[in-house]
Amino acid sequence: MTEHFAGPPDWTWYILFYFFFAGISGGSYAVASLLRLFGRPSDEPASRLGYYTAFVTLLPCPPLLVIDLGEPIRFWHMLVNTTPGDVGPIFKYWSPMSVGAWALLVFGAFATVSFIAALVRDDRLRFGLARLVARLDRSWLGAVMVFLGMLLGLFVAGYTGVLLSVSNQPVWSDTWALGGLFLASGLSASVAVLIWLTRFRRLARYSTDFLVRGEQWFQILELALIVAFTITIFQAGAVGTAFALPWLLLWVFVLISLVPGISGFGLPHAVGPSGRGDAGALSASVAVLPWLVVLGVLALRAAVIFSAQF
């Protein structure tokens, strides 16, 4: 049993929502890229939805991180060391916060380029530079970029868990499972958002089967990692902290939120753009259940972040 005397860093709401949006942004980019690189041409609308989601959910991340700082105007000190006599870029590979700051910056560039390319492909942007970006995006260079962006997206979705673990806080530092858990849950939330968005993009429903199967797999991974998390903190004697009231209620909600995804949202797998054959089930399932999954992912992060500090 590990005894901890570290004080809480007061990482609360801003950090919670940063972790949440970063998980969805990175996860959406990864899922979109998976469809783009390995899917059929009919997966293109869902893939573009993924890039839109990655970009839009990335937007709140920098402001959330900046306003959480004690001295927000010095946000750039994450990237540049201003120590007299040692001025220059700073990158500490052993500090997840340092690595994450750089990863977020680079991932932001990838997400922006893919967002612009998706807009051009959807014929919503027509000016010259955007078309050039879209043309590059379609070349082999684009495929390489999308692949690298996918890896970065996976990193951005998961490193936040490692960041918590690389500390001396109870619960966080008692487990090695948080990085994987945040990644799996981030992917799960991303797919849930995409499933919900297919309501508004008929042609994206060609990919519903993939999304539903993907959701099942990501949530199984999440469940396995919740089990690993519980075992590791039990060994460290921190179960009482992580699962104390009221956090226990959040954990119960997390487990409930895994049900629809693992059970496939009750959807027939091969739903096409018309939703033919089971339009009612499609509409009801896709309208409500993905939000249960998304809220469960938020609850998971809240339980982990708050239980160690309060």
Partner: protein
């Protein structure tokens, strides 16, 4: 008078066996460093300071250790008093995680947070195993004991050591302090005070502490991790990233299988027709 010169490691030897809980160290520290007042804490002891933090670089702990049995004279077990402070660890958790490079090791081998570089991310607070660092709400930066860096630069010993009336806090070159500490603990043992022990005087705790202690009980009693639990945050990098990488690999594998093995969609509608621009 200690001669202070850059390139030598300086620190504190805090002998808790002679601490009388007068808090002169706290007052001297607050006065020199111009630290704000903090609302008093009213617990069930004599400690109105609460804990170390942005406004308390020194904190005299009053640990109620009264036993059910009658206490004999001179055994020092009824109250444990200790003037707590940043330990200026050789392998410092705060310095390790700091993403901005604000936390540095000075020419006096102490750990110092540069107030003009820190951006208040609080990663150091999550990492410090002694709960030493706090965020100054007005300045927005992390603060802790500087071992009176400015005084050292001026050739003066730290304010707390100068104010301590019982020599509980001794300042000097770490090598000399370690010798003194060993003699003191040997003397205590020879007089039957077997519970006396040194904490952080050797490299078993974070590679050695520049501010080390003579304790009268287990370190956990004083809110300090044992040598076994004194671990660095970076210990979790390897398995944390490894789990993330394995999860990513499994997620991609599952995603690929889902892409390849799914049933065909109901009709092969040419998707590019949906607002697809021409490739001109």
């Amino acid at each position: 008078m200690v001669e202070i010169k850059p390139g030598t490691a300086y620190g504190f030897f805090t002998d808790t066996s002679v601490c009388i809980g007068c808090k002169a160290c706290e007052v001297a520290c607050k006065a020199w460093n111009e630290l704000d007042d903090n609302p008093p804490v009213f617990g069930d002891g004599y400690d109105n300071t609460g804990d170390l933090g942005a406004q308390n670089f020194r904190h005299v702990q009053f640990i109620d250790n009264v036993t059910d049995k009658a206490v004999g004279p001179g055994d020092g077990k009824a109250w444990l008093m200790m003037s707590d402070v940043c330990k200026h660890c050789q392998r410092a958790s705060c310095l390790e995680v700091c993403p901005t490079g604000a936390i540095i090791r000075t020419e006096f081998d102490t750990v110092y947070i540069q107030p003009d570089v820190c951006n208040g991310c609080r990663d150091c607070i999550a990492a410090c195993p002694y709960d030493v660092i706090g965020l100054d709400e007005h300045k927005g930066v992390a603060q802790k004991c500087t071992l009176c860096y400015d005084r050292l630069q001026g050739g003066m010993e730290p304010a707390c050591a100068k104010a301590c009336p019982t020599q509980s806090i001794q300042f000097g070159p770490v090598i000399e302090l370690r010798e003194k500490a060993q003699k003191r603990v040997d003397a205590l043992h020879s007089t039957g005070v077997s519970q006396a022990r040194l904490y952080g005087a050797d490299d078993s705790v974070y590679g050695g502490l520049n501010a080390f202690f003579l304790l009268m009980d287990e370190p956990e009693k004083y809110q300090m991790p044992s040598a076994q639990d004194a671990v660095l945050p970076s210990r979790n990098n390897k398995f944390g990233y490894l789990t993330t990488a394995i999860t990513a690999a499994l997620a991609l594998l599952g995603g690929l299988i889902a892409v390849r093995r799914r049933r065909p969609a109901e009709s092969p509608v040419p998707v590019r027709s949906e607002r697809e621009p021409r490739d001109d």
